[in-house]
Structures are given as C-alpha cells and as structure tokens.
C-alpha cells in the first residue's frame, strides 16, 4: 500500500494495554471473591423442577424460603435433582449453576437485613419463569 501504518500500531498497543489492565483487575477481584472465610456456615441448596430447597448445617430444612443471619458468612453447596438450574441472589451477586451429579460452591455474607429474591437463571422448562424463593436476612 506504500503508506505508513504507525497510527494503527499505536492504537492496537493502547487497546492491548487496556485489556491487560481489565484482565489483571478481574483476576485480582476473582481471587478475592473466591476466598471462602473459614467460619462460613454451609447451606445445602437443591434445585428441582421448579422450586428451591435448603438445608442448614444443623439439619433444619426449608423450602422456598431461606432464613439467614446478618453479617455472617455462608457457603452454598449447590446441586440439582433433575435438570440444570442456576441459583441466583441478584442483590448479592450470588450466581452459580445447579448441575445434577455435581456440587458447586459459592459463598457470601449478607450485610443488610431484609427480604431478597432468589431466582433460577438457567432455562429449566415449563415453570422456569416462576422458580423463585425468598431470602430473609435477620438482624441478630
């Protein structure tokens, strides 16, 4: 073509530098997010068509509602009984697939009392749109 192409290379270098920054930040944050505190209480979460059930460490079971304490760390062990679901508490950015035959873990620590929506975010059939539960965070 015979013309100089240096602006393109500068531009590509800037784009790559930005991407490196985004990637490094993402790596850092994901590292922090995935570090589960030692005292986290385990909650077993089971998804099935089309409701959620929960089991606390002390053996208490709940269906469609989950009662937790404020400022307390919890580790969810998520699985499914039939097809893939996705356990999601949007306000707390808790999101992980519930896959049959597999246990996925994610942790969080609610810092605000109140009621929050739990929903299914992975298509699972007829009543997927209404596969909901309520998270109740109690001030203790």
């Amino acid at each position: 073509m015979g013309h100089s192409n240096w602006p393109e290379w500068i531009y590509v270098a800037v784009v790559i530098a930005l991407l490196c920054y985004v990637g490094a930040e993402a790596w850092n944050i994901e590292n922090l997010v995935e570090h589960v505190p030692e005292d986290a209480e385990v909650i077993k979460v089971t998804g099935q068509q089309w409701f959620w059930s929960f089991e606390h460490e002390d053996g208490t079971k709940e269906v469609g509602e989950l009662h937790l304490k404020k400022d307390h760390a919890y580790k969810f062990e998520i699985t499914s009984k039939d097809v893939n679901h996705n356990f999601n508490i949007h306000e707390y950015v808790v999101l992980l697939d519930a896959v049959p035959g597999q246990i996925n873990t994610v942790w969080f620590s609610p810092n605000e009392a109140g009621e929050f929506d739990i929903q299914c975010r992975e298509y699972c059939g007829l009543i997927h749109y209404n596969m909901r539960a309520t998270l109740i965070v109690e001030d203790v």
Partner: protein, 508 residues
C-alpha cells in the same frame, strides 16, 4: 454480474440451475423469508413481555417454543444463508473464476436448507437454541426435540459442503495472476469463516448424535442419572458455536470492507491489516469457547485461561474498526443507504465489543450471566452488527440483482427506524439485565423497574417492525417497478474505486 430479473425466466430454470448467481439468488430470497419469519416470532415474544401476566401467548410452553425457534431461525436460516448468498454472488467474481469450484455441490448445499427449515419450524422445540442436557435429554417433549436435532444435523452438513466449496474456489480456482494477498477482503472473509466452519462444525455434529442416542435411551453421555456428564455437552456445543459467532461476523465485516471504501471514494486504508485481523480472529475464535460456562462451576484456572482467550479476540476486532474509520477519514463520503447500514453496524459492533469485554471479566460475568444483559449483548452482535452489514449489502446488491434501483428515501427511513429501535431495545436490555431479570422467562414479577424497561424494549421492537415492513415493501415494489439502474455506477459515485469487479475493473 448476471441480472437475474432483467430477462424474465421461468422460475424452475433458476431453481434447478447450478450457476453461482442463481444459487446466490435462492439463498438470498430464502434468507430474507427466514428473517421475516424469525422477526415475527421476536415480535410475538416482545408483545408477550410488554407487561406482566399473559398478553398474547397463553402458556409458557408456547413461549419457550417460540424463543427457541426464533433463535434457531435467525442464526441458521437467516444469517448463515444470507452470508452464503453474498459469497455465491461475489466470491467467484472476485477470484475471477467462472463459477464456484463445485457447482452441483453448491446447489445441493442450498437445497438441504429448506427441508431442515421445515423440520425446525414444524417441530418448534422448546429447549433454547443450545439444547442443554439433561433438560434436552430427559424433559423436552418429543417429537419436537428430535425434529430440531435432525434439522440442525442437515444444516450442519449443508454448512460444511458450502464451506468446502468456498475454500476450494478461493484457493484453487483464483486467477493465476491474482496473488492471495490481492484477493479482495470480502473473499478473504469467506475463506476465514469457511475454514472455521470446517474446523468447528464436526464437534457439534458429534454432540448432536450423542444427544439423539441419549434421548433414545441407548446411551447416557450427558445424562447424570446413568453416569453421564451434562457439562461435556456444553463444552462440545460451545467449541462449535463460539467460533460460529465469528463465522457469522467475519462475512459481515467483509461486506463492510466492500461498502465502506466504495462510498468513501477511497481505497481501503490497509489491506494487509484487514487480512491479518481476519486470520487472527479465525485463530482466537477457538480459544474462548468456555467463557459461556463460567457459572457451571469451573475452577479459577480454567476461568482465567478462557478470559485471556476471550480478551485476545478484541485487538483483531479493533483493527477492523480502525481500518474502517481510517478509510472513511478525509474521504468524500456519500451516505447512501448501504453506507448508512455499514456505519451504523460499525457503531453497534463497537458497543457490542465493549460489552463483551465486560462479560469476559470473570467477576463481572457473575452479574450479567443468563440475564437480559446477555440478550442485549448478543443481539448487538447478531442484529446490530451482522444483520446491519447484511441488510446494507442487500441494498448494495439490489441494482446488480434486479437491474432496478430501490427507493433511496424509504431505504433511509428504514435505516433510521431500525437503528433507533435497535438502540432502544438492545441497550435497555443491557440495563434490565443489570437489574437482574433472567433471560428466557415467560412472565416476570411486578417490579417497577422491570415493567418500565420491558415496555420500553417492546416499543423499540415495534419501531423496528415498522422499519422492516418498509424494507419488505421497498424490496417487492422496487424489484418490479423501480427505476432502471445505471449499472456502470448505480450509486452515482463516479471515479475509479466504485465498480463491482466484473463491471469495469480499473486494473484490467
């Protein structure tokens, strides 16, 4: 170029022809038909979601069938065939060969598509376009699921045959005086995307067979009840269909490489960087498939690897955008309809790419995954970028195919309506996703922000519906009664860069 409609021919002469422009015309008409069928389904979905509660669709199963068939139609029956249409018209001309390398194979590849379409449309499967097991194995109703599987199988074979044809035509049949570096970028885009199809598609073909035998109860590859692994299917699926995104987007970029220099009245800024970016995209297309699966419980290392693979696709895409802008810079741009679509497509491509960087960053993906953000994001790609490039190119080809001019004024109105509608619909979907609305839901609870944004999205869809109605009317009316086009320079551009290759090649 052969003018199909100038001299009227009986329709079977076109149907049974193996000439590349005849096959191209059939691809074109079929893909436009599929676009309107898929679009009608999208409108039905948006009417249903306009407000909470049942609006138009009585039950969730019909809704699930509709969004599945909408996605399958748009990807496999509109975008892939429309790219093949453009390739059939222009690739042999650009490599200066008389036809495609294997004309009969070419016609067979086309004629496999309508029966597959009938299977998909009559079946109306309900498992979403990616048919995730175990739902698709144990829960999805027959015979719709089997019809979908067979339909996709046929479409996959058709796609492989078409790709073999493009690769052989470009590499083996190009004129000996034409070096591969001088082959126009549109033909290069078909070379890249065809090679991706050949590398990626067999994986999905295998996955489909495994899914079918699982459904028949003969095997349990993906069924955890008998020891299978449902996540394995997702790997096989996305190993084909993440590259498939590039199969769709690369020809659209190639079409923009044809439109932008011509209407800017300047040569392409850098042919070399365009080729480099196509090759880069074809390679990194295979490095990012599992970024669709962060939430399936992947380890930190796996997520990191696929985040890096995903980010690696950005510089190559950015090089294309730079090339477009540098070509337009200081050009005497004529904003005729095709140019408007191309420029609008580049703007939305940029927005879609920026959203893609957000999705690929691991912690942020857990906010956006399977929400309406994702719906907005990939529609910015498949509609905002790929369909925009394709529609612009349909306008661009129109005078060469029909010998008549489309109505320029209505073409501009079509663009403005669809561009505005697309911005309203797809950007709002991003925000709705941040507010937590999951995708693929038939109904939603009465949350104020969700209700308002869903209404807005549906209004945007209606604006696009009006625009597409104008498009259809313009196509039909102008091909019958439009002004005869000046085929040496239908867009009134003058000068030396502005002719399709066979008309008056300045280097001849």
């Amino acid at each position: 170029m052969v003018l199909e409609l100038k001299k009227a021919r009986p329709v079977w002469q076109i149907m049974f022809s193996t000439h590349h422009t005849d096959v191209g015309l059939m691809y074109l008409i079929f893909s436009i038909l599929a676009m309107f069928i898929g679009g009608a389904m999208a409108i039905a979905l948006r009417v249903e979601l306009f407000a909470p509660g049942a609006q138009l669709i009585e039950d969730s199963m019909s809704f699930n069938r509709l969004f599945t068939t909408h996605g399958t139609t748009m990807i496999f029956l509109f975008l892939l065939p429309s790219a093949s249409a453009v390739g059939n018209y222009l690739v042999p001309i650009m490599v200066r060969y008389k036809d495609m390398a294997y004309p009969k194979l070419n016609a067979i590849a086309f004629w496999m598509i309508p029966p597959a379409a009938v299977l998909v449309w009559l079946g109306m499967a309900d498992f979403g376009w990616y048919a995730n097991p175990p739902y698709s194995v144990i829960s999805s109703p027959a015979p719709a699921a089997e019809m979908w599987i067979f339909g996709l199988k046929v479409l996959g074979v058709s796609s492989i045959l078409g790709s073999i044809n493009f690769v052989v035509t470009i590499l083996k049949c190009k004129h000996p005086d034409l070096s591969i570096g001088k082959v126009p970028l549109l033909a290069w885009s078909f070379l890249s995307s065809s090679i991706i199809v050949l590398a990626a598609m067999p994986t999905f073909a295998a996955a489909l067979l495994m899914l079918l035998t699982d459904r028949l109860g003969a095997t349990g590859f993906f069924n955890p009840a008998v020891g299978g692994d449902p996540i394995a299917y997702q790997h096989l699926f996305w190993f084909t269909f993440h590259p498939e995104v590039y199969v769709l987007v690369i020809p659209a970029i190639g079409m923009m490489y044809e439109i932008i220099p011509r209407f800017s009245r300047r040569p392409i800024f850098s042919q070399g960087s365009g080729i480099f970016a196509f090759v880069m995209l074809s390679l990194v297309a295979f490095a990012s498939w599992a970024h669709h699966m962060y939430a399936t419980g992947m380890t930190f290392t796996e997520k990191t690897v696929f985040m890096i693979g995903t980010l690696a696709a950005v510089p190559a895409s950015a090089m294309h955008v730079f090339n477009f802008l540098a070509t337009m810079w200081n050009g005497r741009i004529k904003f005729a309809t095709p140019m408007m679509w191309a420029v609008g497509g580049i703007a939305l491509f940029f927005a879609a790419g920026a959203g893609g960087v957000v999705n690929s960053a691991m912690p942020l993906d857990f906010i956006t995954h399977d929400s309406y953000w994702v719906v907005g994001h990939f529609h910015l790609f498949v509609f905002g970028t790929i369909a925009f490039g394709t529609i612009g190119f349909i306008y661009y080809l129109f005078p060469y195919v029909t010998g008549r001019m489309y109505n320029e004024k209505w073409g501009v109105v079509h663009f403005i309506l669809v561009f505005v509608g697309a911005c309203i619909t797809f950007f709002t979907q991003h925000i709705l996703g941040l507010y937590g609305m999951p995708r693929r839901i038939y109904d939603y609870p009465e949350i104020d922000s969700w209700i308002q944004m869903n209404a807005l999205i549906s209004v945007g869809a209606m604006i696009m519906l009006v625009g597409m109605g104008i498009f259809l009317a313009n196509l039909i009316y102008s091909s019958a009664k439009g002004k005869p086009a000046n085929l040496h320079d239908p867009f009134g551009l003058g000068g030396k860069y502005y002719y399709p290759y066979e008309q008056r090649n300045p280097h001849h």
